[in-house]
Symmetry: D2
Subunit: 354 residues, 4 copies
């Protein structure tokens, strides 16, 4: 069988992770990489690994008839135009999250994908984590009965730099989006309503951009199940990624992963090492698996494991969270269609408070 | 030193627990017990333990000049009149939670206590649990820095019978009230705003009384710290009582208590016994401690560890949670003074939805 | 039913623990206590608790026809004569471990008990620990299949004072004796052979008395199952009491008990409190249970849960361990009958080494 | 820098593991592989991975001047002649454990290595396990003070087939050898004396070859520290690999690794998945690390992390264990030089028993 030729657009940190994983994969060939700022260093990177093309022009990949699929790892702003262009060029697509900061534009991208009949996988890598996969498996197998509640703790070890905060789109679209997807994945259903409450407790920089760094989000699913997510931009003990699904027949929980199981008992107490530091350590294997499953779905004609609608639903939940903070009430996802009405309510509320 | 003479009003399950604990305490004498339904069995119970008086009339205790303090363990409806009467009689008071289902009446009781200059301790027994005490100690010592988030999981092993549901006052005042108090205790601050969302997923009986059996409650504290409580009326694996306080310098968590630490590893997996079944098992020691500290605060002239305001604050949070469900928005505790305005908003909202 | 009248001989720390536990027990009356050094303080202790007799003469207890049973909590040297005297007086007996430092004298005591037809329970309190009971239950229920291996970790938090060391009889009879009994209890079979190896690593005082403070002991049971015990006189992190039984169908393990389950995660790591400090904290409930079961076996005519042969077998294992260290080889318990031959072998070996 | 050219002799399961790991390594080239039974399948394996040479003749590798180092992954019997030949050919050597079943022959191999001035690393892969490395680090850093005791649990998930048992050399040289090395590694010192006791409880096949399947081994180290290893050929719940080092200032323990941290709580109990199944799962990363450190020590001129003496010491301990079972006593490693005396003692003992 001919190998699958893949190109990567955007060779920042995450583009390089995908490249390394694709390079180790049988039946896959990394045929080209592009980056707006491609330079000598990238050329050398490619040469050392036998990647034939390293270019500044993403068009070079999209126009190459031998390339069957592209990874879109560039800046969020470029996702929609690149998805549209790739779809038109008949390429299958793996796109990093979020598709965009605006669900309307995300829908444009999904329309283009549907029309072109190509596959689109969204980079919700956490779905491929060994712990969360196991919880999903237990839920799907009915081991906890009917799900009543999903709980997600998701805290970063340290806040991003201020210039990142300025352009991130806010905590819900930048950080919680993974948790919205995880909640849908674990419980196997759609979010209907979101209530969010947050504070700036970690770094005043967040306040300067109207953002939050600490948040609690309540979810309501179709059928009445509830969800709760708590986020912080700084857990000094490392990346805190735990979930629980509680149901009529029991509960499934996962704790953090630690670099080892060593415990030292001394006159002071019993101590073990902190959890794995951040996403590169914790989700190392998950990145490999999401890439492999994408490649396999193309090679074997299977469905991609995370599709465009998954990307859209998480964005809608993030948007609802943002409105919820502004309005001080729970916001249903189906309300998001009527922006005018939401805006009016917000202005009324703000007028009353003023 | 003369012993402290104590009487107990209401000899149901919880009254008997306090009785047993008082009987083992040095410097304390259980001088009398009363119960509206006192019968031959109670008389015998008292005789076997050397308790000189077992009566149907609580007045017998309140009028006895040798009794310095009473435990009020009767039905919630009777708490306020009994507190008022006991205060007027100059007795110190230990009262089970909640003081009442109505903060206005609770305030009457607290006024009577203040005027009489007696001590009043509320039966928030969980504050005396070895695990929660340790978390509070760590928070107070600054070990987690500034608190940002308090998380409480609180789930009963099985729902109460329907006749209990009918009179309980609803999940927030009956069950979450302990968690509101725990949140205040752990974080060492007052709740400013409550948002609650719930479902009926466990037993349709709850719906018949306009009640919920599964709930997620978001709290906002003075200073911006957040809290989240999740409740269920049925965790099939037993009583689920876990907390976490997360802050600028770390996080303190406690897991459930189990009857033993045995783990059995077989070809099927690694298994240990379920958590302790319910509050009698889990809070056994906590009941002893709260009683002892009440007695000691009377004998030694110290402050009681949980006072009337603690009781009131938890009731206010429960009331705010109830309004929040009705209004679909976060409700500040200070809004509770203007019931008229809340009612109007609720009616408007219900009219819109109709 | 008339209560059971019990007397206690020897009112040191352990005597007082039993006294406190008996005093809280229904159907039981603590009728008298004796201590060679009984003084005003003991008289007051007895008065405060309503114990009618506090005397220096154990005979006062043994001659009192109303006393049905005695606890022997005096010095080890006095155990055998007191057991013999109590048995002759027709009293049932609870005796602290070891019965004696010499199996031949222990057998005399057991003979007297058998002739008198009284009951004798030995104070192997650890059998009543919630963790070890659960492991025994799992083993007995066949959950781990046929037992192949029992492992016991048993370490004290700190060594005893030198004057205690001088008279203790050595680590095997003083400390490991509990572990020999635990091994027999968990596996449900008799020890056939013992190999012991030790060092003085904690405190040179042990060397001055020909004793050891760190030891590893291998056991062989009838049927081929193996056992291993490790002892230390000083675990700086507290009392270390863990066991495992491994078999053809799995393994059952218990960890130490901790005062709470709190974990604190900081930039330095994840820490919890040390295990419970020593036997008073760890075996608090076990002391209550062994006393209650003794009383119940007298009141209800059941067998005592730990009998004289259990005491003897643990002493024989301790003696075999002592010979093993001297001879440098595994020693079978049935070899202990021929002391002459063992002595000759030891002298030969020592001559060769000299 | 030119890459390091490496050849592999013996392309069974372990040879292929090393091959895969070397193929992913920068600065390293897998230049040739040999196997006595090389066939079309191996040729294809090599072709797919760009390995230029696949041969039946190990000489082809040893005579190739471009190859700087060889991995010896062939049958144990061939290790010594191959080490000697490779050393003479000036190749650095990575050899699987054990070097041989006979310490005298092992010494020959080490002599050849010394004379040739090449490097020799032994395949004690467990030293590179994340858990054991962390314990060693804690011990080396003095966190537990002076080591008093090392405890190793090492149990396979299921016994090998009978034809393997027939040629394995027995449990001590085949299985415990890893644990002897681990004990030396963790405690940082040499074993002086070994006492071993075992049974056949898992599979009667072991008895047919004079072998054991369940064993407890006591170690004594220079300075008086003790060690204890327990082995079983069948732990039905999976590969059981735990260690503890206990010392004057505390204790460091590691538990098994599990495939995930998921816990499911139901009405039956709390369950998690079994430990990782066997060495391929558990020591996956350790194999990568030992290979990388070998390559790096050649490229950077550093010492190899596990040398020939480490291989010899573990074999001596295994031999001492074997003699200990036969003699029924502790055997010092320095006694192994006088085989005649040990044989005489064994025959005397066996005569006495007969």
């Amino acid at each position: 069988m001919d190998p699958l030729n893949i190109g990567i657009i955007g060779m920042g940190r995450i583009g390089k992770i995908h490249a390394d994983n694709l390079l180790r994969m049988p039946r896959v060939k990394l045929a080209a990489v592009s980056d707006l700022y491609a330079d000598e260093a990238l050329a050398q990177w490619a040469a050392e690994r036998g990647v034939p093309v390293a270019t500044r022009r993403s068009e070079d990949l999209l126009e190459d008839p031998d390339i069957q699929a592209v990874f879109i790892c560039s800046h969020t702003d470029s996702h929609v135009p690149l998805i549209v262009a790739a779809a038109k060029a008949g390429k299958h697509i793996f796109c990093e999250k979020p598709i965009s900061l605006d669900p309307a534009r995300t829908k444009e991208a999904l329309d283009a994908v549907r029309e072109a009949g190509v596959k689109l996988q969204i980079g919700f890598n956490r779905r491929f984590d060994h712990n969360f996969e196991r919880v999903r498996e237990l839920v799907r197998a009915g081991r906890i009965g009917e799900p009543h509640l999903v709980k997600i703790t998701s805290r970063d070890p340290s806040p991003p730099p201020e210039d990142y905060i300025a352009k991130s789109g806010g905590i819900f679209i930048d950080m919680t989006i993974h948790d919205f997807d995880m909640a849908r994945y674990l419980i196997g259903g759609d979010i209907e309503e979101v209530y969010a409450r947050g504070s700036v407790l970690v770094d005043p920089a967040f306040a300067r951009y109207g953002d939050l760094d600490t948040a609690v989000i309540t979810l309501k699913f179709a059928g009445g199940a509830l969800g709760v997510i708590d986020n912080s931009r700084r857990a000094v003990y490392g990346y805190d990624q735990r979930v629980e699904v509680f149901g009529s027949a029991g509960s499934a929980t996962v704790e953090n992963d630690h670099p080892n199981t060593a415990e030292i008992s001394t006159a002071e107490g019993v101590t073990r090492d902190k959890p794995l530091h951040f996403f590169l350590e914790r989700y190392n294997e998950a990145y490999v698996k999401e890439t492999r499953q994408f490649a396999e779905s193309l090679l074997d004609g299977a469905d991609v494991p995370v599709d465009g609608n998954d990307g859209l639903q998480a964005e809608l939940a993030a948007l609802a969270a943002k409105w919820s903070v502004r309005l001080g009430r729970g916001v249903k996802l189906r309300e998001l269609g009527d922006t005018e009405r939401l805006t009016k309510e917000a202005l009324d509320k703000e007028a009353t408070l003023a």
